[in-house]
């Protein structure tokens, strides 16, 4: 798989403050790439460099194999975190204006806007002023404007803020569909559950440095600790528990179950496989639950950040 976007050793300094320190990322074509990091880590600076809003002090950015140039603006759709629209301008007029700034002809922009307005069932908003719309409604218009020129690369910064759950789902489905149609998506958010749901690649930026990057599945594999969650039915729970505690590294687990089980988290060393554990357990008790503990992105996030403090 080739990369649509490559950032190499990007550094940006504001006065004495280093906002970005030799950060490199590679965003594969057709992926949904999660750009994660605590507030003030440098995500927005990196996004602004990709959008050519700020220029890096050093480092290179390549889009589709060629160094970033001003015409690439039209290949990128950007929904910033700090977003809004002209309050006193009409919705349709404004959408046309923003679409034309992205290089669409007026006619083309009108056609595509009609398609999207019908899709979102908002055609009667065309002549309304933004100040008459609710925040969520305005966000829909912003989303349309972001994707209207069919960019190769879509950058969403906290796209779901301001949406109610129903509309958030609508937007999420649209993002997935755009990905299926060939767009590549960079996705910056604090909401880990949506990262879990959408992203196939992530990069973690902390204190201006990139500290983690890769395919989500690979990262999870790397971060999993060979721990299993088990639920056991046994006559003598206490005896079993102490026996297991002697043999393995155990911890009490907490999950919902209908009958009285011994709930444990069991961590295995590298030499022991899950089959070995299963075989051992099946002699001692009835296994009603056996589940590999895969770390969530949230856990990985917190773990890496605290490790790097």
């Amino acid at each position: 798989m080739t990369n649509l976007l490559e950032v190499q050793q990007a550094t940006k300094q504001f006065g004495d403050f280093i906002a970005l320190n030799k950060v490199s990322i590679a965003v594969p074509k057709g992926s949904i790439f999660g750009l994660l990091g605590p507030n003030g880590a440098g995500k927005t600076t990196l996004i602004r460099i990709i959008n050519q809003i700020t220029l890096p002090d050093s480092g290179n950015v390549f889009l589709d194999g060629s160094p970033l140039q001003s015409h690439h603006i039209r290949d990128i759709g950007y929904l910033p975190e700090e977003r809004g629209l002209y309050k006193s301008m009409k919705v349709g007029e404004q959408a046309l204006y923003l679409a034309q700034l992205k290089g669409l002809s007026k006619k083309e922009a009108k056609e595509r806007l009609r398609y999207w307005f019908e899709k979102f069932e908002i055609t009667d908003w065309w002549d309304k002023k933004i100040q008459e719309l609710s925040k969520g409604m305005a966000q829909k218009v912003q989303f349309i404007v972001t994707v209207l020129h069919r960019p190769k690369l879509l950058i969403f910064d906290e796209p779901f803020s301001g949406f109610d759950p129903i509309n958030a789902t609508v937007i999420k489905d649209e993002i997935l569909q755009l990905r299926d149609e060939g767009a590549t998506v960079i996705f910056s958010t604090h909401r880990m559950e949506s990262v879990e749901e959408l992203c196939d690649h992530i990069a973690l930026i902390h204190k201006s440095n990139k500290i983690l990057e890769g395919k989500v599945s690979n990262i999870k594999r790397e971060y999993k600790s060979n721990t299993f969650e088990v639920g056991l039915l046994s006559e003598n729970k206490d005896a079993l528990q102490s026996e297991l505690a002697d043999k393995f590294c155990t911890e009490p687990a907490n999950f919902k179950a209908i009958d009285d089980q011994l709930k444990l988290k069991i961590s295995l060393d590298k030499e022991t496989s899950s089959n070995d554990l299963l075989r051992y357990l099946s002699d001692k008790a009835t296994i009603v639950r056996f589940n590999e503990m895969i770390p969530s992105v949230n856990e990985i996030f917190i773990k890496t950040i605290t490790e790097n403090e």
Binding site: F14, Y78, L79, R83, L85, K87, Y97, L101
Partner: protein, 436 residues
């Protein structure tokens, strides 16, 4: 359409559609003309009231001198006793009673003439009466000393210095006053335009910041493009407004002139002029002359250079306004940065009103008409007095140079400022932004 064109069009439409703009553009010429008209109407209303003045002339000298004219009716009460005349004046609701007693010498007579009135009499009426009496008594004195009046009349020299420049154009003192008025008005208007339109640019920058649309826009266009588009679009709105004002003002002025001049014609202008000139220093004559002087002014040239210097001065200042707008979060925060804008503008106006009027081609006037921050106003005030073309050229070249520099400088602050939220920057910080 290029992005710059799109931005210019949007800014222009946003300005022009604004209700305040529409009201200001179409109403203010009418308001100004209406106010002038109201003042003129009110004064004529006052004058239409005919004032009856009774006089008792015990000397018998003034039999033919008090001629009823315009709004003053002189009534001869000479045969009535003073006390009875007073009562009659009061009961007839006349304006006043002039009492000229009989005295030995003209000098003691001059001291003892009295005017009785209910309210303190109008200054101009008193003036009129005084000048009638004074000229009569002077003549009387001449006669007493055996001097022939016609000799004096013939000996009087009337001086009216004709002013002419070396290329043969004739001017007059009055024309200098007219030039002063027009130059001053143009300079003042220019300052108002710069402040009004500069403020519009600033507000539009702040609006984009507070609406949080700025980042969406500059992910499509360069900040410099956005700033220039904003300044240009707003300037077109200003030029449009100026043209509407010139056209409306021109139409209203010619209607006004027609009405005013026509009015004077009807009321037997010749006689009116003569009497007025004798008595009130020829104000009406001056009004007509004044109108003629306006017509000889290089009005087209003035309008042309107004546009040039408006665009130039506006560009210079509005780029500063744009930078300020980018640096702050709200209009109230912008106050602390207003000094560098208001100060040179005020300086230009003051230099214009003091130095230029005193000496339009003096060192102070010339220097300030070259300094780019004051040149639009000061040069515009000098233009009606005739400025050599090369001086105008130099000042415009300096202006253009400073515009380029200022736009570049403002662009740097703008670029950083528009993405900064929640901080109230200091001058020191703005200076730091220049280096980012």
């Amino acid at each position: 359409m290029s992005n710059l064109q799109l931005i210019i069009r949007r800014e222009f439409v946003a300005r022009v559609r604004n209700k305040t703009f529409i009201v200001m553009t179409f109403l203010s010429p009418f308001i100004i003309v209406g106010m002038v008209g109201l003042i003129i109407w009110l004064t004529t209303l006052n004058n239409d009231e005919v004032k009856e003045i009774a006089y008792i002339d015990e000397t018998g000298l003034f039999e033919t001198d008090f001629k009823s004219f315009d709004n003053i009716d002189y009534v001869n009460y000479t045969n009535v006793k003073l006390e009875a005349a007073k009562d009659s004046v009061i009961s007839n609701k006349m304006y006043g009673l002039l009492y000229i007693p009989k005295k030995e010498s003209t000098n003691s007579l001059a001291e003892s003439i009295q005017f009785y009135a209910d309210e303190s009499p109008n200054y101009s009426i008193l003036n009129t009466i005084e000048s009638i009496i004074a000229s009569k008594l002077t003549n009387q004195n001449y006669k007493a000393k055996g001097i022939d009046l016609t000799t004096i009349e013939n000996a009087k020299a009337r001086v009216n210095i004709k002013i002419e420049n070396f290329s043969g154009e004739k001017t007059s003192k009055l024309s200098n006053i007219v030039k002063m008025i027009f130059g001053g008005a143009a300079g003042y208007l220019l300052m108002m335009f710069i402040i009004i339109y500069g403020n519009m640019v600033m507000r539009s920058v702040i609006e984009e910041k507070t609406n949080r649309i700025i980042e969406i826009i500059i992910s499509s266009v360069k900040p410099m493009q956005l700033m220039l588009g904003k300044i240009l679009g707003t300037s077109f709105a200003g030029i449009l407004q100026f043209f509407i004002w010139v056209i409306l003002g021109g139409v209203l002025l010619s209607i006004g002139m027609f009405v005013l001049v026509g009015d004077i014609d009807q009321s037997n202008m010749q006689e009116a002029l003569k009497v007025m000139e004798d008595t009130q220093g020829g104000i009406v004559a001056n009004v007509t002359e004044f109108l003629i002087e306006i017509q000889t002014l290089p009005l087209l040239e003035l309008v042309f250079f107004f546009l040039i210097y408006f665009v130039g001065g506006y560009f210079l200042y509005s780029s500063i306004y744009a930078a300020i707008g980018a640096a702050v979060d709200s209009e109230t925060d912008s106050q602390q940065f207003m000094l560098p804008i208001i100060l040179p503008l005020m300086l230009g106006i003051y230099v214009g009103f003091f130095a230029v009027i005193e000496n339009p081609h003096g060192t102070v006037s010339t220097i300030f008409s070259m300094i780019p921050l004051t040149s639009p106003i000061v040069m515009l005030m000098r233009i009606p007095f005739g400025v050599p073309w090369w001086e105008i050229l130099i000042s415009i070249i300096i202006l253009i140079g400073s515009i380029i520099f200022m736009v570049w400088l403002a662009g740097k602050i703008y670029r950083i400022g528009i993405l900064m939220y929640g901080k109230k920057p200091s001058y020191k910080e703005l200076f730091k932004w220049l280096k980012y």
